[in-house]
């Protein structure tokens, strides 16, 4: 059991568990939290999982935990860890099964008031046109050859095949295509799961949400992103579907043997890993990249469906129904990046599991319009509450390997949420607030009730106080489409 007194307070919202806490820790664990969030994090296994993750070979500096932290498996959700190339390890469990689960945000010039009379139709049409639910197939049946192309090209494949605009791809993390993918390292089973699912939302906490921009905090950034108070925006939250789940499962199984070969001692088998320069580590990195690229393409195809839906529903009713990409970010991923550690530039593999890249101004990958501002960061809240658009900062480069939070973070188990909340009543409450809901499962809706999550606004205040993000705009939901 970890107690608050096991932490050293390093700053107003920064705490550290030193390596002296447990003999097998290789680096300290730091958490960005106020007192309330820290105390909440101690109520489950989140911090213990971060301490376990601190035993991985090749870690640099520290493990950093975000204020939306909650218990996961292996790593905590909200954990960031960087391992040094070439000998440091890569851990599939430190990235998660839903590889490149992420968020995309689109802006519009559609006034919320103008869409209100058509919102019910819009929600129904999005629900009908964007396949969602358990095991549901997508709108495109891929051949093996096409799937292999997506593995290598990601969102660029969707551009070549008429599902994207150039601005979409430019405004996607990594240009929607991470180098190093080799589908030869992906199992036939993963391909079998991935071929029918492109362009599908999935289930669980994945969603499409029609929002309106409630408040702008950074007018210059909001203008560059096309976000204006009172206008509609669209969020999409999903990942690499069964393709990514199978790739992670395959490699967690394979690396059970690798840790023995490389004589790596771990406190939890879910943390299995392999050196980045080992054959096993290279294969996993390459396969994981395939899934990351698949997820970029998946969200892009959903954008294609969403644009078609907006046109079908709103053409002739509003003057401009276009949706423009703001940005697309991954929050479950391993990325090879360069960071300054102890004054020295080093290449590391940054594991972000439930954490968002948040690079500051001047990062060359960013499109011109974001160069001087920093990278857009998209933080969805729980259903019926705010979502946030932020900017990455130089502070995040110094403190958190260029990362910030990814959401509100759960506080209540799904089991307890279902005992506490009835899905049909939650739906009625949301509808009474003017939020249109489409969901396949009422128990599934209950699991995602706002009561099951932390207050996202409190999480955002903490990351802003820590200097790892800046506020740009707050969004409010008008229609929620749940998988």
């Amino acid at each position: 059991m970890i107690h608050k007194q096991d932490f050293r307070k390093l700053g107003p919202v920064l705490w550290e568990i030193p390596t002296s806490y447990r003999h097998d820790m290789r680096v300290p664990v730091r958490i960005i939290a106020d007192d309330r969030i820290l105390e909440a994090a101690l109520s489950d296994k989140s911090i213990l999982q971060a301490v376990n993750a601190s035993t991985l070979p090749g870690l640099v500096s520290h493990i950093i935990v975000m204020p939306d932290v909650h218990q996961g498996y292996g790593f905590p959700i909200g954990g960031v860890a960087a391992t040094r190339l070439p000998h440091g390890v890569i851990s599939p469990g430190g990235i998660g099964y839903d590889i490149n689960c992420g968020v995309r945000l689109l802006s519009s010039r559609i006034p919320a008031k103008a869409v209100e009379p058509h919102l019910d139709d819009l929600a129904s049409a999005l629900y009908a046109n964007c396949p969602s639910g358990v095991g549901v197939k997508g709108s495109i049946r891929l051949s093996v050859k096409q799937l292999d192309q997506i593995c290598r090209q990601g969102a660029v494949w969707t551009l070549k095949n008429g599902y994207a605009r150039e601005e979409d791809v430019e405004r996607t993390e990594g240009g929607g295509c991470i180098e190093g993918a080799d589908p030869a390292h992906v199992s036939d089973r993963a391909k079998q799961r991935g071929r029918p699912q492109l362009g599908s939302l999935g289930a669980g906490n994945h969603f499409i949400e029609v929002d309106f921009v409630e408040q702008v905090f950074h007018p210059e950034a909001a203008q560059a992103m096309g976000l204006e108070e009172g206008m509609i925006a669209l969020q999409i939250h999903c990942g690499s579907r069964g393709f990514g789940h199978q790739i992670c499962s395959d490699y967690v199984r394979e690396l059970q043997g690798a840790v023995k070969r490389y004589q790596i001692q771990l406190p939890d088998r879910e943390l299995v890993c392999a050196p980045l320069n080992s054959p096993e580590g290279k294969r996993y990195l390459s396969a994981m990249t395939c899934a990351a690229n698949y997820a970029f393409a998946n969200r892009q195809v959903l954008v294609h469906h969403a644009r078609r839906t907006f046109e079908q529903t709103l053409a002739g009713k509003v003057s401009d129904w276009e949706l423009h990409q703001v940005y697309d970010i991954a929050h479950n991923i391993g990325k090879i990046e360069e960071h300054v550690v102890d004054g020295e530039k080093v290449r590391v593999c940054v594991h972000r599991k439930g954490a968002t890249r948040a690079f500051g101004p001047g990062f060359e990958e960013l499109p011109d319009e974001y160069q001087e501002l920093g990278q857009p960061v998209l933080v969805p809240g729980s259903m019926a509450t705010s979502s946030w658009v932020l900017l990455g900062t130089e502070g995040s480069m110094a403190l958190s390997f260029g990362s910030t939070c990814h959401g509100a973070g759960r506080t209540m188990s799904r089991k307890r949420a279902k005992r506490t909340v009835r899905g049909d009543q939650l739906r009625e409450r949301m509808e009474s607030k003017g939020i249109h809901v489409r969901a396949r499962s009422m128990p599934g809706l209950a699991e995602e009730a706002p009561q099951a999550y932390k207050d996202v606004d409190a999480v955002i205040e903490v990351v802003v106080r820590a200097g790892i993000a800046k506020k740009v705009a707050r969004l409010r939901p008008m229609a929620v489409i749940k998988g």
Partner: protein, 136 residues
């Protein structure tokens, strides 16, 4: 031990199942039943099909994960659930299961994966017990 023992236990983000069995074979059987209950899969009335599933792993925990993953894979790719199991194990690392597959009429929960998180099969007074965490 009376009837198949499995119980969903608290987990903040995902789902966890405590499973018991008088022996390893029963533990594997109960884990499968428990996982199916978590998915809420309802079989469609009508014809079912017998099938044999064979899985291997280096140890007991690995066999448990591989077995459950095998069932999830068929549920997703072929849209089937399971109405009968007959398990035969050799040592702790090899399982042959005769199963009855039936198309799924409805399902409420998507399980992404079976994890190895803190997975340990432990001896208890009247058999074996473990806790499996599922990514959902």
């Amino acid at each position: 031990m009376k009837g198949p023992y499995f119980e969903e236990i608290e987990h903040t983000a995902d789902q966890a199942l405590r499973v018991r069995g008088t022996d390893f074979k029963e533990l594997l059987h109960n884990a499968a039943l428990g996982m199916l209950e978590l998915t809420g899969a309802i079989p469609r009335s009508g014809p079912s099909r017998d099938r044999e599933i064979e899985v291997q792993a280096p140890d007991r925990e690995g066999l448990l994960v591989t077995w459950l993953e095998e069932l999830l894979f068929s549920m997703e790719t072929r849209g089937v659930t399971y109405t009968k199991f007959e398990l035969h194990i050799t040592g702790d690392t090899h399982l042959v299961a005769k199963v009855q597959e039936t198309p799924i009429a409805a399902i409420t929960r998507h399980i992404k994966a079976v994890t190895y998180h803190d997975l340990e099969i432990e001896k208890i007074v009247d058999g074996l017990e473990t806790t499996v965490v599922f990514d959902v």
